[in-house]
Symmetry: C2
Subunit: 202 residues, 2 copies
DNA sequence: TACTTACTGGACTACACAGTCCACTCATGA
DNA sequence: TCATGAGTGGACTGTGTAGTCCAGTAAGTA
């Protein structure tokens, strides 16, 4: 769990280390990221790292939490408008546009961490799962709002649709990452949208 | 690219090394898999490894190819019947059953390798992408057969549906891996199936 | 000023790992 | 029987890395 810093300076240092670690992990992978490089980037000395974190795993756990926040906070504005059909379309367009910017590279940071650490460390897996849970809950809330407002029929199973939509996003990102081409994400999202659209009133 | 062994004994040794490496990689991850452990598992000595492969990366490339084959050959019987609605349903049930057996652990081996190595080595990324391509082509062939036989309407865009369906599979596997629960895969597949079903003749 | 606690710097250790090296085996063929 | 060369065994090297250690500093308190 690492030490809880009791001063502001400490808190900032800890935060700086996590941010640097997240960058290095994104570039080199979780196992390829060395503490030396994290320290150099932060910048922070060896003993600062071990002052704020028990060991590398503990640091990676903090990185996982920070990754959840980065991914979800980055979409917050879009999540806020998921309660209308137009908002849903804008969200999907934004995801594709985001991937296009990066040339198909990278995929979803949460999924990447999961693939690298999920089977090795159960605490980290649980953290990343909670990230997906929050993401899915935001989608579900949007769909539920559309049911309430009558944009979707009451028989729409929002839990199922939200789960299936997030799966389309994740799968689309995986395929696009493999092919360095956002087309797969576009198609996956179009599939998810068309499924949701089939629950619009006639 | 490593040496092409000219004897049967050599070929078998090479194959044994790849199989052992694939096991170790599945357990410890691509970077966590040490050549010592691969050698111990094969069994094969240090110099055998470097006789058949240029370096660790070259070995991992062979593992990626073998992983493609394992995943796709394992589904071949199911792929062969993807040309009917019943076959499609059986395929999706088999995927969920397979994941249930493993308690939600593991996810898709191709996607796992991609997450670990895709951004680090472009040759490996390309190999894994070709695995997804083959997978998607098999689904597309099945859907096309359903269009031909009249089980799907002619206006069904099979390229889009195949891509979107594979994305649902991959995304469902990611979410299920995170949650250690096959429900997400079940929901994702139900979404994909319902989308396809919407193109059945009325 | 003296004392205490929180925090910091960076040298140091132990080790695991990729990759090298060379002597050896053993089948094949003259 | 010897020569050849593909294939093999495993000790060895250098390096990068996680984790330890302790002396030092800054800031707060008596």
């Amino acid at each position: 769990m690492g030490t809880q810093p009791s001063t502001d300076r400490g808190r900032l240092t800890r935060q700086r280390i996590v941010a640097a670690a997240a960058e290095v992990v994104a570039e080199k992978g979780a196992l390829g990221a060395s503490l030396d490089e994290v320290g150099a980037r932060a910048p922070a000395s060896r003993s600062q790292l071990y002052h704020y974190f028990d060991d590398k795993n503990d640091l990676l756990l903090a990185v996982a939490e920070a990754t959840n926040d980065t991914v979800l906070d980055g979409q917050q504005d879009l999540f806020d408008h998921l309660g209308t059909w137009d908002g849903l379309v804008r969200w999907s367009d934004a995801l594709v546009a985001f991937l296009e910017e990066r040339g198909g590279k990278g995929g979803c940071p949460i999924a990447n961490l999961l693939g690298q650490l999920g089977e090795r460390d159960d605490a980290i897996r649980a953290v990343l799962a909670s990230g997906f849970d929050r993401w899915e809950a935001d989608i579900r809330a949007g769909l539920a709002a559309m049911v309430s407002s009558g944009e979707l029929r009451p028989d729409a199973d929002v839990a199922w649709l939200a789960s299936s939509t997030l799966a389309s996003v994740q799968g689309g990102l995986v395929l696009s990452q493999a092919r360095r081409d956002p087309l797969a994400l576009r198609r996956a999202l179009d599939g998810a949208l068309e499924l949701i659209a089939s629950y619009r009133p006639i």
